[in-house]
Symmetry: C2
Subunit: 351 residues, 2 copies
């Protein structure tokens, strides 16, 4: 469960990646690529939520001025996401990108790739090599002796070798797939074959919130629990702030990093005499504004509550229309059901 200490330490702006650094949290802007202010507003919200590195797509050259303006004003390091046009990547490196994200399979061949590598080298920034199933080269795609994860890993290995041969070592690699077992298998192969290369992990096109959380938490959970992953993005078809919240929730669940409170709440059962779902949601909402790493318990039953949540910093055990507020297993006071949320938040404020 420790971050990979074998990988090479890189810097993305001021954020360390690899070499035992904690897994860094990323997201991607989904605001129009040609309007600096809406992008900066979204970066602000993402930074508040705990985002550490932000990626921005630059779909055409006309967006480079906006990209530069965003880089200049952004509190977070900005990664330029570029496809098809190497010139955009070169310009992005010169205009403030903290990292480039390219797929050598679609950037226009070796000469163009070399030009991008040289531009990144001059700017002193790393490059993420993002390999995916769609852009595998035809020879590799056609091989019947390899599984898809083996093809993805082989392609990544080949590109990393190419970059190293050109004297460029500051590479991060990703081989995301929308299929969880493929993603897990591909990253396990990468960790084995490229032990010193930092890995950017993610399940791509994971879907809307519910399915996206389940696919990403299971796929990335398996990898992180095994010590694989130097930086992560959880892709959701939702507000990017939810992506950041999901990353932190997963890192906290695995005991790797913690930011903000964790809620321990029982699933309700036939023993429960209050609206525990509503109560837990209300507490959850209030806790979004708290950044202390607390464990808060919301339990449906007075008999088991304080005992089962004895390790919580603060909590409530509910009875018939009442709640008993407790702190590290010790009872503080009994309040009416309607006053539970306020009482809990008041005690949290005192901690």
């Amino acid at each position: 469960m420790k971050p990979n200490e074998q990988t090479r330490r890189l810097m993305v702006g001021g954020v360390p990646l690899g070499g035992g650094a904690p897994c860094a949290v990323q997201s991607m802007l989904n605001t129009p690529a040609d309007d600096a202010q809406t992008n900066l507003d979204q970066i602000e919200r993402l930074a508040d939520a705990g985002c550490e590195i932000i990626r921005m797509a630059i779909p055409q050259r006309s967006c480079l001025d906006t990209f530069q303006a965003v880089c200049e004003a952004s509190p977070l390091p900005v990664v330029a996401d570029v496809h098809f046009d190497a010139e955009i990547a070169i310009q992005a490196a010169r205009r403030g990108a903290a990292k480039l994200r390219i797929n050598p399979g679609n950037i226009g061949g070796p000469a163009k790739t070399d030009a991008v590598i040289d531009a990144a080298g001059e700017a002193g920034i790393p490059i993420r090599i993002g390999v995916n199933a769609g852009s595998l080269d035809d020879a590799l795609k056609a091989r019947t002796d390899l599984t898809l994860p083996q093809k993805l890993a082989a392609s990544a290995e080949e590109y990393v070798g190419y970059f190293h041969a050109r004297g460029f070592d500051d590479v991060v690699v990703s081989t995301k797939a929308s299929d969880v077992p493929t993603t897990i298998a591909a990253y396990r192969l990468l960790a084995e074959k490229l032990p010193s290369t930092p890995l950017h992990i993610g399940v791509t096109e994971a879907g809307t919130l519910f399915q996206g959380l389940v696919k990403s938490a299971s796929g990335l959970g398996v990898l992180l629990e095994q010590g694989i992953g130097d930086t992560m993005r959880i892709s959701l078809t939702d507000d990017p702030v939810q992506e950041v919240r999901a990353c932190w929730t997963l890192l906290a669940a695995l005991g790797l990093r913690r930011r903000g409170p964790e809620i321990v709440s029982c699933p309700t059962c036939g023993r429960c005499k209050v609206d525990l779902i509503g109560l837990a949601r209300a507490v959850d909402d209030c806790l979004q504004a708290v950044h202390k790493p607390l464990k808060v318990a919301v339990m449906g039953c007075v008999v088991n509550g304080p005992g089962e949540a004895a390790d919580a910093d603060i909590g409530v055990a509910c009875g018939d229309g009442v709640g008993v507020i407790f702190k590290q297993g010790e009872t503080l006071r009994k309040v009416d059901e309607t006053a539970i949320v306020d009482a809990l938040m008041e005690e949290i404020g005192k901690l």
Copy 2:
């Protein structure tokens, strides 16, 4: 990633557990324990969502009539969840329970445990031994040479030995914790020490929907991916239907079982020109009523869309105000943004 074929095959009503059977999906009723009809209504909703085994708490003896009425009318096998009072467990076995769930640590000592074992034996039903941190015996709790997962596993091992010594082999074991690393470590020990005992896996008190999905999918994902887990419950402080949906989503994500469609949708980025989040959510909602195992793609960008989602059964790639409906990578037709959901559902209906 295969279900554990080493575990002993048990039956919970008509549902097989262990011995290579697919991991069975469980949930727990949260309707009042003294009203049969509301429980049966909830069972109906859970069965529709794909629940295979349902658990019901029997908090006091006066609820046994209700329990019996529920068992008689339920389309799903009903597990009696009993704490503290062995007589309730004995009566539940005689009145239609398909399985008992007890914690020998709180049922009143060896003589009471023996009576429960005998009642289950006479009824021909299995027992789940549910061990948790709160009810470890004092001698075990006090040992400083063991970690919590080791204590949980040791306690479970001792109980299973006790049941076997009494000639009762139809046991399932769980050692849930609200902490994910503890849960993972405890179940790994159990799988090693009790290789022939079916395991009921879960992360307990995982919280409200968002955090609960992340904690459960990561913890259970790690176990299932390793082949551990004969039946599962995802505990959420939410409608139990969401628990069932979460189980299926996780099993599908790991490629273990599939029920209903999977949605592949890209996280939006600066290239996207439609309200993809709204669109993906609308498609997701419509798909809840579809039980065919389909892969449906909702992509934000016409250029990459059909290519990246070539393996989808059906999908849409959006452009500026339009959507191109495609089937297994082949374009079917182009529709206005407002007509996308209807066109997609129409094509799904034809499959």
